[in-house]
């Protein structure tokens, strides 16, 4: 079946010749009109639209955005904050970069609609430190929007006031975890907070109710305010509504970002048709479907079970190529849609080396707060690096697995799972490669590319 056409909503103007990131260009393309209409409606109605839309967060967890908003403690009398998660640090993910650099006003309009809907008076954009230009572009865009009265003490003459500030991170992956991000915004080390009691919706930034939303999610909110929740829910597939930006990197002919209706395209269509297939003379070996933390998929494995289609339960029997790229399908086969970062590896890659690369990342990024994660991530790095650079033993795969098994579920935040899942899934699916790594090295087949 041929791949469906891209359905560009969020990336409508990305890479469009002549489209610039200033206010004039945005307004010329109908910018801030949605916000003007939204501000004429009761805020509760906007929250309902987002609930009806079924929008799920695009940062990684896929939590329903409307539910997140409805958990807000609105009766505490404390100010409510919006924190925009622009930390984009999950390896393999590179979508928010383009929104912020090329179409920052789309994000600002989404922020201002979200703030109005939730009575937020102060929003912060937490942007990763590695985007210095992005931070400057956003600051300039906010200044332009302020001068045009789209942001500030009396937005559009409505009497409602809301300010946005940009806050730069400084190179720490854990700041993408929402409570770590909040700690960082408070000027501290980004140690994630324990939940309960520190659910951001109740005890977030400065111990006040806080919404933390991803950049792409907030752009979808703007679109939902435009077309309505019901219309949005018709895009995509049930429970996986709207469009999603899939970021493809690694061993394909045409890596890049592609926006599709969620669940309307399969992994095979995405990689073989949209991305042009494997590099010449090579074949696909494995793919990570939702950022480096997601469990890996091995080409050749099959997934069987029952799934709900409409009201019926239907059998499915999928190869990796058949899996629809949506939250639920990827969840059903034991991995996740995560942040939309698809990393492809072909037959030149040795999985021990790929895992050693990822383990080095997680060992570097563990915040060190919880012992199982701090020690475990470091040992997984040491063991896999030793396999590559020193002596590899047949039982090392099981040793790695035993370390990983002791991390997941024993930490304050989801980083524990994020660092354990790669090891668990690589060893489970490519166990022979771990067992035979010493022999493979002795055979002297030089690796095509150094990975660690």
């Amino acid at each position: 079946m041929p791949a469906p056409a891209q359905h560009r909503i969020i990336f409508q103007h990305i890479d469009e010749p002549g489209y610039t990131n200033d206010l004039a260009c945005y307004v010329q393309h109908g910018g801030y009109e949605v916000m003007k209409r939204a501000y004429a409606r009761p805020p509760a109605e906007l929250v309902d639209e987002v609930k009806k839309s079924g929008l799920r967060g695009r940062g990684g967890a896929g939590f329903p955005c409307g539910v997140k908003w409805s958990l807000l403690d609105r009766k505490s009398g404390k100010p409510i904050y919006l924190v925009v998660n622009a930390d984009e640090s999950e390896p393999g993910t590179f979508k928010d970069r383009y929104i912020m650099h090329q179409d920052p006003h789309q994000l600002i309009e989404g922020i201002m609609i979200t703030c109005f809907a939730n009575s937020v008076k102060q929003a912060y954009i937490y942007i990763r430190g590695e985007f210095p230009h992005g931070a400057r572009i956003l600051e300039k865009a906010i200044a332009e929007a302020r001068a045009a009265n789209f942001v500030g003490p009396n937005v559009l003459g409505s009497g409602y006031g809301c300010e946005i500030y940009v806050h730069r991170g400084a190179g720490a992956y854990i700041c993408g975890e929402e409570t770590g991000l909040i700690e960082s915004l408070e000027g501290k080390r980004p140690y994630p907070r324990i939940k309960p009691p520190y659910f951001p919706a109740v005890l977030g930034l400065y111990q006040c109710p806080t919404i933390v939303n991803n950049v792409e999610t907030l752009c979808h909110v703007k679109y939902i305010a435009d077309v309505g929740g019901e219309a949005f829910a018709k895009i995509g597939t049930p429970n996986n509504t709207g469009t999603r930006i899939l970021c493809v990197s690694g061993h394909v002919q045409k890596p890049g970002y592609y926006e599709f209706e969620v669940g309307k395209i399969t992994m095979g269509q995405l990689l073989n048709e949209v991305c042009g297939g494997p590099l010449p003379g090579r074949t696909f070996k494995a793919v990570i479907p939702g950022g480096s933390s997601a469990k890996i998929l091995k080409f050749g494995e099959r997934f069987k079970g029952k799934r709900k289609v409409g009201a019926e339960m239907v059998d499915y029997d999928w190869a990796v190529e058949d899996v629809p790229m949506d939250f639920d399908s990827l969840g059903m086969i034991g991995t996740m849609g995560g942040s939309g970062g698809v990393i492809v590896m072909d037959d030149t890659v040795n999985m021990v080396e790929a895992l050693a690369n990822i383990n080095a990342f997680y060992a570097h990024e563990s915040c060190g707060q919880c012992t199982p994660c701090r020690e475990g991530s470091l040992w997984m790095k040491k063991i896999s690096a030793r396999m590559v650079h020193g002596d590899a033993r047949p039982e090392d795969g099981q040793l790695l697995k035993s370390v990983a098994d002791q991390i997941a579920g024993r930490t304050i935040c989801a980083f524990g799972e994020a660092c354990a899942w790669p090891t668990q899934s690589y060893v489970a699916k490519f166990g022979d490669e771990f067992k035979g790594y010493a022999e493979a090295k002795k055979a002297g087949k030089p690796a095509a590319t150094t990975l660690v």
């Binding site: 730069r168 190179g171 150094t450």
Partner: protein
């Protein structure tokens, strides 16, 4: 601390963005590092006094976040992405090329003082791997040949300055 008037005015502008002064720790560290090049003990104490904190509150932040450094670096900062997508496309070769071109090792100032080459984690531009940031500029699809070309450019600029 002898900071430029522009830096001081930006510092005074950013502090009221937050209801608590402590929140301005990261912004102040960025502003001072941009001007001075690194974070000295004097800077830590200065920021602590400015934000009504203890020096340890600032120090613990400096030591946690990879982008803050406590020592000067070369004139240009070359940051090569190390993480999986870039590594799959040859990031390690790119990094080695920069090291060889400037006769230096990771994290050190090159003998001519021109550069510090560093391996960093994901720069969020995986679709154009391998990527490199030189100071604030992102360079995409930097294979070994392009790394050589960028190195030559930096060397050329250094020569022109002398």
């Amino acid at each position: 601390m002898n900071l430029k008037p522009e830096t001081l005015s930006r510092i005074d502008e950013v502090i009221p963005h937050y209801p608590t002064k402590r929140s301005a720790t990261l912004p102040l560290l960025h502003l001072i590092q941009e001007e001075v090049g690194y974070i000295s003990n004097e800077a830590i104490e200065w920021i602590a006094a400015k934000l009504e904190l203890q020096p340890i509150n600032v120090y613990e932040v400096v030591t946690f976040y990879p982008m803050f450094r406590q020592k000067p670096i070369g004139r240009r900062h070359i940051k090569v992405c190390r993480t999986l997508s870039c590594a799959l496309m040859g990031g390690y070769k790119t990094c080695a090329t920069f090291e060889n071109e400037f006769h230096t090792h990771l994290g050190e100032v090159s003998p001519d003082g021109e550069v510090t080459v560093e391996f960093v984690e994901c720069l969020a531009s995986c679709g154009t791997a391998p990527v490199v940031m030189i100071d604030d500029e992102l360079h995409e699809k930097v294979d070994a040949a392009k790394a050589k070309q960028l190195s030559d450019q930096i060397k050329g600029e250094a020569k022109a300055r002398k």
